[in-house]
Amino acid sequence: MSKLSKAIYEIHHMDTLANQNQWMNRIHPLVKFVLTVFYIGTVVSFPKYDMAGLAGMMVYPLVVFIIGDLSFLDSIYRLRIVLPLVCFVGLFNPFFDRVPVGTLGSFTITAGMISMVTLMLKGILTVLASYILIATTTIEKLCYALRLLHVPAFFVTQLMLTYRYVSVLLAEANRIMQAYSLRAPNQKGVHFKVWGSLTGQLLLRSMDRAGEVYESMCLRGYTGEYHFGDAIHARGKDYLYLLFWCCIFALFRLLPVLNLIGGLFVA
């Protein structure tokens, strides 16, 4: 499958997930958004070597993935974009930071190894948290949350238009590329001679479409001001959900919970 058709498929897929009528999907979008930011903030604020403390933070994705019926495999796929840079940055820590901190049999564990694992764990946890947000919240609702955060309506409208036309233009680009590759079967990408005209054609068509969209808006009373629908109200449940998780995050951030619980058993 080409990159373009993959992207089209992915948009459909995420959208289907976000549009399910699950209880996670019904939580107020701003609550989920704030919670996600708070979670990611907490995760990345863990010290460089605090692997054990950070490991406790996996409680959130663990619970939500199971209760929310989210696919873990599907979320792993999202790691592909973010993880390479994280790995590149983290992979060198063991070589620079060789302070021994313990042994495992004959194998010496160094501080660098711990900081590398911590960093990668951070990478994984943050992406999982983002995935939880986007797999249970539609873009429309996220845009609504952005508006509640006082992002200008002007910008939110533009964002919704981009979202609306991403699938249209992806399909258009996909058709162009299919037509191209049918006539240039042995080429992997676009030949440099048509770099300009192929992309340029799509650009001009997009501009024309923008013109038509503007006309369509004007014909229906648009005067530069955008009117949104009615509010989605947060219920008591939503606040409770937010409060519950924030307490858990704070607890895991401030106390070595795993060790304390483990201590009960190991003594």
Binding site: M160, R209, E212, S216, C218, R220, H227, G229
Partner: protein, 247 residues
């Protein structure tokens, strides 16, 4: 004359430094008229429709919609009365779901949420697509998009509907469905198309254009049966009149 009508008087139009696209167009459309605007590619059908809703106001001559002259200052009033359905539904539908798109116009007119809701519901019922209310636009088929496009116009409760090539890219069933729905709308409609069978099924009056001029204006049957006239102007008899099949 009832209050619903359009008067077009000696209208000419050309783009900047370009050749004339429309020349000396004159006609009057009255309530209950269903006008088919036919002609080969590039004769100015779409341009004419766009002039009627003021998407271009730099024309010569006079266009009046319900006695309001179509010019920059009067556009909001004109556009409340006239709905225009684009050929490309993807350009017409710019919101994410059918509901949002159909609610766009009523919201712009400052209606209350309850009124917006009832308008949307009414529009959906008129084209029989209540089930599509919350569906995402990009997941819809071409036929569904066309019907939603029409609903977005109906939520404005217009007196007049203009349509540009409505039957393009519809399968036979959707096409028949659309014909039904259009026939239910009884005010004034103008449909630009070169699908002559479609015009035959939906319109009682036909205007034939060629090279930016009106060549013929009369009852649909009379014009569409006139093989010589049609062929002279780059068209052919509707299929159902070609004797290959009966309709």
């Amino acid at each position: 004359m009832s209050h619903i009508h359009i008067n077009v008087d000696q209208v000419s139009f050309s783009y900047e430094h370009g050749e004339k696209i429309l020349e000396d167009i004159t006609f009057t459309a009255r309530e209950h008229d269903a006008i088919g605007l036919i002609g080969a590619n590039g004769v100015g059908k779409s341009t004419l429709l766009k002039l009627l809703v003021g998407l271009n106001t730099e024309y010569e001559g006079s266009i009046r919609v319900e006695e309001i002259p179509v010019e920059k200052a009067t556009l909001p009033r004109v556009r409340e009365k006239v709905g225009y359905v684009f050929q490309d539904s993807d350009s017409q539908l710019f919101m994410t779901t059918a509901y949002e798109d159909i609610a766009f116009a009523p919201r712009n007119y400052g209606l209350s949420q309850a009124e917006v809701d009832s308008r949307v519901q009414h529009a959906l019922e008129m084209v029989h697509i209540e089930h599509l209310r919350d569906k995402q636009i990009y997941k819809m088929s071409g036929g569904e998009k066309k019907l939603v496009s029409i609903a977005t116009i109906l939520s404005m409760i217009p007196d007049i509907i203009l349509m540009d090539e409505p039957s393009v890219a519809l399968d036979p069933r959707n096409r028949r469905n659309l014909i039904h729905i259009l026939n239910e709308f009884e005010h004034l409609k103008i449909i630009a198309s070169h699908d002559l069978d479609f015009i035959l099924d939906t319109c009682n009056r036909t205007i034939l254009m060629a090279d930016g001029k009106i060549i013929a204006d009369g009852a649909t049957r009379e014009i569409l049966e006139n093989r010589a006239l049609l062929e002279e102007n780059g068209l052919e008899l509707p299929y159902c009149m070609q004797g290959k099949q009966t309709c």
